[in-house]
């Protein structure tokens, strides 16, 4: 099995939103929609004793994706290689998956009446090519690779991070993507 994920180093992320914009360009996402959005976590505390980090939120490529289990038509599925995708020819736009995703990572396209989400740039034919957000990040804070491969860059980064590797809150869906945060308190578990 493979489990493709992103590892995002929040100690490096500057909150510039370039990932969100390059994603819109690459995937021709309409106005008002984002497959990748950047949240500002904080500042928490009283001036000047503050903590803050930025949290890019996108599909977590869950091991047990709720969006897939609630889909009535089988349009949402976890591909053999581990990427969570939507078969558009089966999608009826019921939006159950949108409600099921704990992270708001899915978008309903009001014009096509279909569901859209991060595909990890699956369309980029060159298999060695990374998703555009990974390539373009001005802080170079994103890694992409196979978590099931112990020698992959992401596995090594996660292992090295130890207790500083975090997942978004798990409500049984087992999010697979990893956030690294060492300099301050993780507030999104």
């Amino acid at each position: 099995m493979t489990q493709p994920i992103l590892v995002i180093d929040l100690d490096a992320c500057l909150g510039c939103h370039a990932c969100a914009t390059v994603c819109k360009q690459e995937n021709q996402i309409g106005l008002g929609a984002n497959w990748n959005k950047v949240l500002e976590i904080g500042p928490v505390g009283q001036y000047p004793d503050l903590e803050m980090y930025y949290l890019p939120v996108l599909c977590q490529q869950c091991e047990n994706p709720t969006c897939v289990s609630v889909c009535p038509t089988g349009a949402s599925f976890k591909r053999e290689d581990g990427v969570v995708l939507v078969r558009h020819e089966r999608c009826i736009g019921c939006q159950y998956c949108v409600m099921a995703c704990p992270y708001g990572a899915r978008q309903f396209n009001h014009e096509t009446k279909l569901i859209e989400k991060c595909t990890l740039c699956a369309h980029r034919a060159n298999t060695t090519d990374r998703p555009v957000c990974v390539k373009a990040c001005p802080a170079q804070c994103r890694l992409y690779g196979d978590l099931d491969d112990p020698l992959s860059e992401v596995s090594i980064a996660v292992k090295e991070a130890g207790e500083n590797a975090h997942f978004l809150m798990d409500v049984g869906n087992k999010p697979a993507s990893v956030y690294l945060l060492k300099s301050q308190t993780w507030r999104n578990g």
Partner: protein, 860 residues
Amino acid sequence: MKDENSVKERTSKSVRTITGALSALGLWGKKQPQTFTEANSIEAPPDQIIPSACRLCYGRCGILGHIKNGRVVKIEGNPDIPSNVGTLCSRAYAIPQLMYSPYRLLYPLKRVGERGEGKWQRITWDEALDTIASKIKDIVENYGGHTIIHQYGTGRDMYQFNAINRFFLELGSTATFGVGNLCWLGSYMVSRRIYGDETQYTGWDASKTKLIIHWARQERSRGYYDWLLVKEAKKRGAKYIVVDSRFTSGASKADIWLPIRPGSDMALVLAFINILIRENYYDRDFVTKWTNGPFLVKPNGWLLTQQDLDPNGSSTNYVVWDENSQSPKVWDSKQVDWESPDIKPALLGSYQINGVEYQTSFQIFYDSVKEWTPEKAAEITWVAADKIREAARLYGQNSPGACFARGQKVEFSINTSGISHAFTIMMALAGNFDVPGGQNIAREPANGADPYLFDLIPPKGEIRQKTMANLDKYSVCPGKQKILGELGGFGAATTHAMVTGKPFQPRMYWGQTSEPIVGVEDSREVMEGFKKLDFIVNVDLYMTPTGELADIILPAAHPNEVDRIEYAHSGHGWPASHTTLIRQPFSPPLGECRDDMDIIFDLAQRVGVNMGWKDKYQFFDFMMKPVGMTFEDLRKKVFITSQPSYKRFETGRLRRDRKPGFETPSGKFNLYSEDLKRFGWGPLPFYIEPPISPFSTPELLQDYPYILITGGRSHAYFHTEYRQSPWMRELHTFPTVEINPATAEKLGFEDGDWVYIETKHGKCKQRVQTTPAVHPQVIHANHDWWFPEKLATDDLHGAFECNPNVLVSNDGPYDPAIGTDQYCGLCKVYKALDGPPKGIWTTPEQLKGFLPNAKGGTQA
């Protein structure tokens, strides 16, 4: 995340259309069967990929434009460019939207209604340029060229800047709104006077540094790539210190954040310097050997010269006390050497010569900073004394080999010359100049292609020579602009002259991709002034508030429709500081748009001004000569980057005569500056409280209890620009005022409320965002807001509604050398009972109006 809801925030419309049969190649090298339709398609490969440069901020990242059917459809970072190494910020992706915006101006226009009525008629280039040429000739003949105001926007390339400048200086024009005297001339002027080169502390070297100080430099706003090196330095164990009034993105990553009271920066630098000297962190050898610290000073504050002691001596040779011979000895400025070997100059102390007591300049300096204990600085800056001590010690302990970069906003004060001087001394004392990991003494660009030669080399015309010889007569601020100010006019003086007719009435304004009504202090006065002029020409890509007052509009090409040599501006570190790259067209100019430089060359021919160069290409080739290339070679090569070099004051590479030392009249690093004293400043930096502040004007506090600042820079915009990009408008939708939650609660505000911010001078409206990132007594407002979607008749596209430049007056005081205004002040804030501004676009449906091919816009 603040709560679960914010993560699950739902989005509304999406307009993407799904295309047909799609790829399903596996991610890990295995081919997957095509059993599904993904949410996006494989694009057909582009017809062409063109390397160029982004000009949407000061950073000049290398970009690749994907071209299809003659149009750029996609932007990618160029991985070969050593500064941005393939990464890009959001702005770059807006290039196609900005290039093909329905709001682009495509043809020359002539105003057919009243000023500000928004009524225009298309004319030919010939009609436009001939009208302008004849008007210029008429004004020069009847009123003098000094009655023409010329203006260029900040962050344009310096080739264009110099072409515009040369043309208007040749006509005798001196007045501008002064882009540089806000943010750039302070450090340029001071660094030239202090160590002989004009820099903005460019070329700081994070790649080898042990410590980085970012002073009011918001890392995510301009040329982000420096962060990559800072990040790596941090991983190596380098310390990161951020000085900022707000808890910025950079501050949140810092080892130490010094949350400084707005406008009090000088007190903090002086405290740093005091600690460096008192606790012996300073590089005594450097200060003794290379600076004028040992030079003796007369009781009247001027340096003691050889001539003072000996009538036959030189007035440019200086005197030190030699500890070896216990006698005065002479520094020979011409030879750049001592009068004899074996001199050991005293750095500190007071010495008697012929019955007169002389102190060393370093002694005077040290005495002047002694009062700046961390405790005193804490009172003034509101930064805890122990934090100041800790940061200054860390800087001292890690120097030489610590680097510094400042944001331009720190210079937006009446203390701009002084603060630049103090920063420069701080770095020198710590021994950080021209050492690995410190500050490279580097111009922009550091590898030599300096576009100022455009105007330096060719002969100057008669009108210009006469103007320069009588600058006091032809300047809007006679006697004031003595150093590097814009040759006789900074913004406030120009605005006042337009409105009052004093010292003379300007007749014409020429603006080139600049927006003074929105961007210059006291927006309403600027507008009133423009209405008094006979003739206005505005060159821009879009219709703007100032453009609406013009008589003729000329359509400028987009930066990615023209050829240029490019380099990063605004104090970037290595390797950006040492990189030159090509900016070349993705596609030809739309409609009848023309390159700004070509417009100037054409007009010069019609007016009869000698530009000195045949065209831009002749100058580009000249510029590339020092590196052994032509412009076409650069086009092929795309970029060049050079390595920083160190200790050039020892090897002689800083001076034209190749003698060791600095390219200053004495050859020394002028820690004690007679030039600054001459230009109305002190020879040493000192603290000045901002003119409107809780300490300067406590009587205002009852009515205006909050400190107003506007220095935060948007990661979506560049001052007044890019409001026409729907993606940028989505990223930064509202003119936002940041208020501390405790203050908001006291005032009864909630997030999303529209409030008025009011100073003694005016009021504007913004939308509340509560955040503890600002001090409870500080209010931070977004600068330079206007709304292209509003009409000319909506008070010039809403130029005054949400724009904090209506809150500041033009009435000074100013920095005496540079003419910089103070931009922070005191304000009150209260709920806007009339709600949000009318007619501004905030929803996806509305913002569709900015998409290429949308109906409406200027072209409709």
